[in-house]
Symmetry: C2
Subunit: 222 residues, 2 copies
């Protein structure tokens, strides 16, 4: 028999998926704006962030409301509090898309510094990590969450490659490239921070699942 | 008559103050290590982060345990869930101190690029914002929280001054300064991210206090 709380937890799942989809879309659009040197698209990413902020508050409110009305124990309570944390991470990811859009607005009036190859690669890694981390939460799948943690070193490496190239092949050789190279370097770091948020989500999922496993042995949590 | 839950909420307050103090200390020590070009001190900041991570998990566990045992309503529940969020922000602040320490390790083997003036200034702003935001939470003081939000533009401005100087006066004029200038630029951005975390805490406090104010008018939260 399905409990009424299960329906509401299912709604929470859907809301997390929705804010996750919005955050992923914001990342995608911010990098498209950069690739296409499209100011209008960059401004749209910045504008659209208000809706994601509102979604975050709404989900947060629903979580508190769920706890207050159902007074859930153990597994459900942990699912809700983890949902609250993941909600906050996803909102921060959308904020980073805004940061990327702002750097893009700085860049598009200046001549192209270099073709973008590794930044789109890193974007792909970041998007996959976010998607997998959200899936891991919805399914309570610890193996998927661990996959996210393993991918993080790949993101770090790509970020380092981008940073090294911008410093050694551009800024050091020709200082006048610095204003543009710095913007690209920051965008690479923003993307890597998105990967860090995905890692945080994955860690929260692992913690949620493991705490559940040991819930019949509460002494392990002390 | 004091309720037993009040004692435990008071303990939660103390734990948040403790992790806040550890995070503030980590920021301070990371910038001291940079100023003194002290590798040993930078490594110590990195090592000490594990204890702050453990403290965060411990506080998180206590919060879930408090909710499960007392099934608190309205005001207390909101205080606890806000405490969980602030706990996460403070742990992230300590992570940024680790980032600063890592940049410091990159810098200290190279010649000094410039005397540090604005970075210590920005550090002071960041420390004050974190301290005030935690105080605002403990006291439930919305005016203090708003003060933090107002200070954030000061932090942005200092970060912009530092960034502009490093690009225009160093990297553009002499490209060979780029490897060092980029590290300092990243440190300035890390400090500004600490200010962003303080802003998040302040926003959480305002939301907590306001939700409490409107709790007798639940339609305002829909």
């Amino acid at each position: 028999m399905e409990r009424h709380v299960d329906q509401e937890l299912n709604e929470l799942n859907k809301s997390i998926l929705a804010i996750g989809a919005s955050a992923e879309e914001a990342i995608f659009k911010s990098i498209e704006a950069l690739k296409n040197r499209d100011k209008e698209a960059a401004r749209k990413v910045i504008e659209d962030d208000a809706a994601i902020d509102a979604l975050e508050l709404d989900i947060d409110e629903k979580c508190i409301d769920l706890i207050a009305r159902y007074q859930p124990m153990a597994k459900d309570l942990r699912f809700i509090t983890t949902g609250m944390k993941i909600n906050a991470e996803l909102e921060r990811i959308a904020d980073i898309a805004v940061d990327i859009a702002q750097r893009t607005l700085e860049l598009v009036d200046k001549p192209i510094l270099k073709p973008l190859i590794d930044i789109p690669k890193l974007t792909k890694v970041a998007q996959d990590m976010v998607k997998t981390a959200i899936d891991a939460f919805i399914k309570g799948d610890i193996a998927m969450a661990k996959k996210v943690l393993l991918t993080d070193s790949e993101a770090d490496e790509l970020r380092n490659i981008i940073q090294r190239e911008l410093i050694e092949d551009y800024m050091e050789k020709d200082g006048t490239t610095a204003p543009r190279a710095v913007q690209l370097l920051l965008i690479a770091r923003f993307l890597e921070r998105i990967c860090d948020h995905a890692t945080n989500i994955a860690e929260d999922v692992i913690y949620m699942v493991q705490a559940e496993v040991v819930r019949h042995h509460p002494e392990k949590l002390k």
